[in-house]
């Protein structure tokens, strides 16, 4: 399931823009591939990130996968609820399963992200 209103990063993160703020989570494709998520370390508030930086590792019963920063900036909010209930990512990937909010250094960076349509064809290519 791809939400048209969101932007996507090639490492399978989604981004919801609100001015210079970007809410970030992993895509439905990513949570499906990971399977039941059992743990993730909640990133620290205030962390400065550059595009492509490793944010945190998400662990499932199958494997672990890195969450990368799809845009650069400062972490201004983290989803504390995931601490005890990482399954929120599986249950509501584009809603309650959000991971962090970044205050972007350069909102133009978001232009490099994919639209829902672009991400869909990217996935088709990747998994062909």
């Amino acid at each position: 399931m791809i939400q048209e209103s969101l932007l996507y990063h090639k490492e399978h993160e989604w981004v919801r823009l609100d001015g210079s703020r970007a809410t970030i989570g992993i895509s439905d494709f990513a949570q499906e591939a990971l399977g039941d998520i059992v743990y993730l370390e909640i990133p620290k508030l205030g962390t400065m990130l550059q595009y492509g930086d490793e944010v945190t590792e998400i662990e499932s019963t199958k494997t672990t996968s890195m969450l990368y920063a799809p845009v650069g900036g400062k972490i201004v909010a983290v989803n504390e609820a995931l601490e005890g209930r990482p399954e929120l990512i599986n249950q509501d990937v584009y809603g309650e399963g959000w991971v962090i909010v970044i205050e972007m250094n350069d909102p133009k960076e978001a232009n490099t992200l994919m639209s829902g349509k672009e991400y869909a064809s990217f996935l088709e290519n990747e998994t062909a």
Binding site: D36, V38, T61, T63, E87, T127
Partner: protein, 481 residues
Amino acid sequence: MPEKLLFEKSVPGRRGVTFPTASLEGFSVDAVLPKKCQRESELTLPEISENELMRHYTRLSYESYGVDTGFYPLGSCTMKYNPKIHEDVARFPGFSEIHPLQPEESVQGALGLLYGLQNMLSEIAGMARVSLQPVAGAQGEMTGMLIARAYHLAQGRQRKHVIIPDSAHGTNPASAHLAGYTIKTVKSNREGIIDLEDLKQVVNQDTAALMLTNPNTLGLFERKIGEVVQVIHDAGALVYLDGANLNALLGLTRPGDMGFDIVHFNLHKTFSTPHGGGGPGAGPVGVVSHLTPYLPSPLIEKKGEHFFMDSNRPQSIGRVHSFYGNFGILLRAYTYIRRLGAEGLSAISRNTIINANYLKKQLEASYEIPMKRPCMHEFILSAKAFRDKGIHAWDIAKRLIDYGYYPPTVNFPLIVPESLMIEAPESEARETLDDFAKVLILIRKEIDESPEKLTQAPTTQKVGRMNEVLAARQLNVRYPA
């Protein structure tokens, strides 16, 4: 019904052993152990009779599964049969009654054997020297990375990262990280081998080494290995072979001839020493001549007719284990190699390759096999096509348990979705492979006709499907909880 825990069988006051009353006169615990180190509460050990204890463990032993009870197709683990003559040899008094602190003159036979094993492994891998110290594959990897580090530092350069393919074993990045390197990933191409163009993008003057498994975890020989090695060597970096899949290469080709600089061996895979819970491991490391000064210390050397532990190795990375590795295990590997000889070893690799391709062919019509090329000692099936039916790779694995098989490796390598990685060691007979293929084909029918048989599996065992999610989220290994 599952076997009860010893704690659940415990009856207050019941004893398996009756100790005589202490006869030490005037002995006081307080005199030998400070108060703060003494327990305040009773030990909560199970209280049980000797025969109940024996029955408990004997019954558990019936429920265990191993290479001595059946086919064990666990990919990249080389679960081959361990000949029992190894156990006889390990029990010879000349081996079992010696001690590593004995004077060298009194253990010349044992040292000679280790020296022989060092040399045989060097010959098999095309390396200059081998250290037998590391006691696990992953420890061999870390030793290899520490050697790479020592080498670069000796050249007066600080290298920063290690390149690892996306199909690699998870231990590779862990080992390189422990040796102080960051990790860069190189992609596999559609053919399932290293993407040379991507490798050229990733490599630079900060590259310390490339860690590579060959054949890789897709069971494919890295047929561009010559070019891969060239790219890495041109950057002044080293090429490391993760020897997990060495079973496919014995006597057919040598890592040294392909240009690898460092190799680790898994004696518990390739050379048939007990595996996992069955015994300690052994992960010897071999290197080319210009890296020998950095091998762990001591190394076993020979002067005239005399064998000795050489600790005078100033550039060595130092010890990686107490004494000289797991002697009893090294002894079994030595026995294995000597019994087989050069021709026997190459027959091993030829036969495991034939076994894997034979099994793969039988499954082609029933399962998606992403890599069409002939495989080496193992191959990958993908269960991706069954996702729509709610069937995942692990459901197939669980159903195999119902049919009396240990499941293959699942969900690895990560680059193939829903993968089942099947290895068919040379010690398996054709009939065993036929039976296994029949069961997998039967399971394929079940996926179409009665998928619930898979999603509910295993149902024939004393224990059903575990709740892996709950176990991971709420880990509790203490009894009583």
